[in-house]
């Protein structure tokens, strides 16, 4: 495990004014780990915008909360479970889902949606392909197992494959819950003398040092770390959810926090620190599933499905009664004190005594050196791009590729409709759940693009925020708030730290511009295996609001409709083509810079598409992303209706069809004049490309026919791409 450094240990000594004992040292080690303290990123995270009129609770709590009107609010956050998912994919991913769900319901909200951003090594990697397939299947199985049993729909996300994730897959889970304004709870140990109550699963030896494991690089020894991965019990979590929400309604609960990373240690000292109080507990009272556990083990255990509650003194029985009803342990293990200290006793004998505030909030902060250019895995200079000999074959190759093909194989394992709120599930630009009580719906998009960020962390991050907001606008939702998951390599290397800093600054700039403050999130560093870092991988989760109505979806519906490209054809040059999927899949190369983004123009395009959708003019709409216009057109054929479009031959065909310039949305409409009027009003281009038709997708460029393909062929390649890659190639 990563231990305290010499200077950190000195700081511990000066806080305690003595030498720490073994338990205290363990407690400091986990609380001051990168995972719990954000010590390398915190000074840069301060650059992020965190406020707006809608933000009720910003960063620093278990989840951010925003107002959605009519007295209702939503809580949401994204969190990673990268390291455990590599060591034990099924349980690693399952407990990742469990952890973020607890973050939501510990605030008092009922979880109503989960989305996942998953990244793996290539399935056809000559050396690691078998392992990558196993990791993918395990991770998807774990998410499916936990979310389905718990009863939350898993309704979107993304799955991406790059070589840099061979030894370091990423599992980022976003969850969102809903509640009323007066149902919000905080993790605060207020009220001296109030009882501290432990509820939920018993404590075992699982997950000890999980937080510090997540704060180091992988080495050959990492395979020995399987005992550090926790085991999840979604049924227990479901009981805990219902019992916690019911107990909150008694009015007897003062504060509540889940035991996530660093378990009992983190929940006690953070609750005390937030309230400015002390917390005294006796470990002999903690429900345990193993015998002979030491104070060190009990304090550092990361057993799942546990919560810490501070109740009003004298009303304990109201809380106990609810937990009895649900068949869960609920035991008073201590009380709130006035001395500001975390005092851990073991059968009455003090085993650790540490000031809460210093422990929880005064971890050393590091301004790690980053005065170098961010590490780039590719050259700036563009290679010769040969003229394509077969554009249709290129399109089919892209559609069947692991990044672009349908992820049906994955999301058919997720219960997407439980709770009957899902208006738009996986496979769309944004997922949408309705709030039954208010007539409002919430749209969500979770997205990353490490290929762009590897070429330019700052520009990639801005593109990412723009794309996520565009996904929401495409279904008619106004983006209102964001959460982010920053996945990077070792911050002690300046060229990696530079990636992190530039990404954060790019996100900050774009989130400020698009008025989507960051209300919380997660930083996952040390994503390196044997010295090889992942590409900089910030992942955004952005939420938007729209009135509840049948959603606009991607597929063309009727033939004879006008196909339009709101935002226009976009710009590209050779350097800005190097991060595209065409460069990756067809040319097998990477270079240059990500597509250029004009944020002012992007904002106008998004306002225009929202208005087009709101006025009911979009029969279908689809945001242009990876794979560019041709891939977007092909995806619009997924309902069986094709199109005949004609593009100006001003760009070479490879660029016109496959460049990934932002600020573009493809729609089909029966009211092209009305759409044009809206586009003019917002000062954005909106060329008519052609009409929808049955049976085929035909793309002409000037006088030439670039692509002409039966819809069935496109769909066969696209829909079955992932299954084909997962099918055993040899027995």
């Amino acid at each position: 495990m990563s231990d305290l450094t010499v200077s950190e240990l000195d700081k511990v000594r000066s806080i305690l004014k003595r030498e720490p004992n073994e338990t205290e040292r363990g407690i400091f080690t986990v609380m001051w780990s990168e995972h719990c303290s954000y010590k390398s990123s915190r000074i840069h995270l301060k650059k992020l915008p965190t406020r707006s009129e809608r933000v009720l609770v910003g960063p620093g709590e278990n989840a951010g909360i925003i107002d959605i009107g009519n007295g209702y609010a939503i809580a949401f956050k994204i969190e990673s479970h990268n390291h455990p998912s590599f060591i034990e994919p099924f349980q690693g991913a399952a407990t990742g889902v469990g952890g973020i769900l607890r973050d939501i319901f510990t605030m008092g909200a009922r979880p109503i949606a989960v989305l996942d951003a998953l990244r793996f090594g290539p399935l056809d990697d000559p050396a690691a392909g078998d392992r990558n397939r196993r990791i993918l299947e395990g991770v998807v199985g774990g998410i499916s197992h936990y979310g389905n049993c718990f009863g939350v729909p898993t309704i979107g996300g993304e799955t991406v494959f790059e070589r840099c994730y061979n030894g370091n897959p990423l599992v980022n889970v976003f969850a969102l819950g809903v509640f009323k304004h007066d149902e919000i709870f905080f993790g605060r140990a207020s009220g001296i003398g109030n009882p501290v109550i432990y509820v939920g699963a018993k404590t075992g030896r699982d997950g000890i040092h999980g937080a510090s494991m997540a704060s180091s690089e992988f080495t050959e020894e990492s395979k020995q770390k399987r005992p550090n991965v926790q085991v999840g019990d979604p049924f227990m979590e479901k009981l805990l959810l219902e019992a916690c929400l019911e107990a909150m309604h008694t009015g007897a609960i003062v504060g509540i926090q889940d035991m996530g990373a660093a378990g009992l240690t983190c929940s006690t000292c953070e609750m005390g620190s937030r309230a400015g109080t002390g917390v005294e507990i006796d470990l002999a009272l903690v429900p345990q599933r193993e015998t002979g556990m030491t104070p060190y083990e009990i304090m550092l255990s990361e057993s799942q499905e546990r919560m810490l509650i501070v109740a009003e003194k004298g009303r304990e029985e109201e809380v106990f009664a609810v937990f009895r009803k649900w068949g869960l342990d609920a035991v008073t293990i201590g009380r709130v004190t006035g001395d500001g200290k975390l005092r851990v006793k073991d059968r009455g004998v003090v085993a650790a005594e540490i000031p809460n505030r210093e422990l929880a909030d005064e971890a050393p902060l590091y301004d790690r050196p980053h005065n170098v250019a961010p590490y780039r895995p590719a050259p700036m200079e563009a290679p010769e791009i040969p003229a394509s000999r077969h554009l249709k074959a290129d399109l089919l190759k892209l559609l069947g590729s692991s990044d672009l093909c349908s992820k049906r194989w994955i999301w058919q394992q997720y219960d997407t409709t439980v709770r009957t709120n899902t208006l738009a599930g996986p496979g769309g630009d944004a997922a949408i759940v309705r709030i039954k009580e208010t007539g409002t719906s919430v749209a969500m998009s979770v997205d990353g693009n490490a290929r762009y960020c590897a070429l330019s962390p700052r520009e990639g991050a801005r593109l990412l925020v723009a794309e996520c907001c565009r996904n929401l606008s495409t279904v008619g939702a106004l983006p209102v708030a964001a959460t982010n998951n920053l996945n990077f390599g070792n911050p002690e290397r300046p060229e990696i730290m530079a990636q992190l800093v530039e990404s954060i600054e790019g996100i900050a700039e774009a989130c400020r511009f698009f008025e989507t403050p960051i209300t919380g999130g997660n930083v996952s560093l040390y994503n390196e295996t044997l010295g090889e870092a992942i590409w900089p991988t910030p992942v955004m989760g952005i939420v938007g609001l729209l009135p509840t109505a049948p959603p606009v979806t991607i597929p063309f519906k009727e033939e004879g409709r006008t196909v339009m490209l709101l935002g226009g054809f976009g710009t590209v040059d050779t350097v800005r083509f190097g991060g595209t999927q065409y460069a990756k899949i067809v040319l097998n190369k990477m270079w240059g810079l990500p597509p250029a983004l004009d944020m002012e123009y992007e904002k106008r395009v998004q306002a225009a598409i929202r208005e087009v959708v709101a006025q009911g003019h979009a029969e279908s709409s689809h945001d242009l992303g990876e794979g560019g216009l041709a891939v977007a057109l092909a995806e619009c054929c997924s309902g069986g209706t094709g199109a005949h479009v004609d593009l100006p031959a001003t760009l070479r065909p490879e660029f016109a069809l496959f460049h990934e310039g932002p600020s573009r949305v493809l729609i089909s409409t029966g009211h092209p004049e009305a759409v044009e009027a809206i586009a003019r009003q917002h000062k954005v281009a909106c060329p008519r490309l052609g009409v929808t038709m049955t049976g085929a997708l035909r793309i002409d460029g000037g006088a030439a026919t670039w692509i002409d393909c039966r819809v069935e062929q496109l769909m066969d390649v696209w829909q079955n791409g992932l299954e084909r890659m997962l099918a055993p190639t040899h027995v």
């Binding site: 499916s144 718990f150 009863g151 049924f235 479901k238 068949g327 409709t417």
Partner: protein, 224 residues
């Protein structure tokens, strides 16, 4: 009419059934906690989807011992209408109220998608308002939905017109494409797909309503 929706600790489609009945179909619907020994004054009972007691053993294997299931058995013996959806079907089978077993899906993976069902008989209180041969689109979401029984039982179910709905596109390997069956007296039905999730126009399909509406009409007719 009054529906009772049974709530086991791990039920997670209880609210879906309650919402469909109360909001989409305008009926009274009450939750019944699993340790209750009475079903109150319910006219019909729904065993909803979910994971009753975690279902780490066989799905429904523990639920059959719950106090509420004694009440459900008695209710069914008295001719009351009982509909088991998904986990509810598994519990009915484990409880012996319906024959056969539900095994792990043929693909060994959880399957969540829309399926098309064919109404095989209208001679049940659950399909009386439907047309024989009618196709309905409803979602499935389960890991253990592969219907299995020995040949004699399958033949008997068919001979007695007790296969109520069949899959057009079998998602789980169920024998003879069976998606739902009813009891000998025809007042207990179990099915793996979720008609309650296809009862709201915003959910993409309202074609599951015919099952819930048939129950309502059957009860109303019986009271008339």
């Amino acid at each position: 009419m009054r529906f009772g929706v049974v709530v086991f600790p791990g039920s997670n489609c209880d609210h879906d059934a309650w919402y469909a009945l109360s909001h989409n179909l305008g009926q009274q619907a009450e939750f019944i906690w699993h340790d209750s020994t009475s079903l109150g004054n319910a006219d019909a009972v729904i065993l909803p989807g979910g994971f009753s007691y975690g279902d780490y053993l066989r799905c429904g294997a523990i639920a059959k011992f719950s106090p509420v299931m004694s009440a459900v058995r008695k209710f069914a013996a008295d001719g009351g209408l009982v509909l088991g959806i998904c986990n509810g079907f598994q519990i009915l089978v484990e409880s012996g109220l319906l024959p056969g077993a539900l095994l792990r899906n043929a693909g060994l993976r959880f399957v969540s998608r829309e399926v098309t069902l064919r109404i095989e008989t209208t001679n049940t209180p659950f399909t009386a308002s439907a047309q024989r041969g009618q196709l309905i689109r409803v979602p499935v979401a389960h890991g253990d939905g592969c219907y299995f029984a020995d040949t004699r039982t399958l033949d008997m179910l068919e001979a007695e017109d007790r296969v109520v709905v069949r899959y057009i596109d079998n998602p789980n390997g169920s024998l003879r494409d069976i998606a739902g069956i009813c009891s000998e007296r025809r007042n207990v039905m179990g099915l793996m797909p979720h008609p309650e999730r296809a009862s709201d126009p915003l959910m993409g399909s309202t074609e599951g309503r015919v099952i819930l509406e048939s129950m309502i009409q059957s009860v109303v007719a019986a009271h008339a």
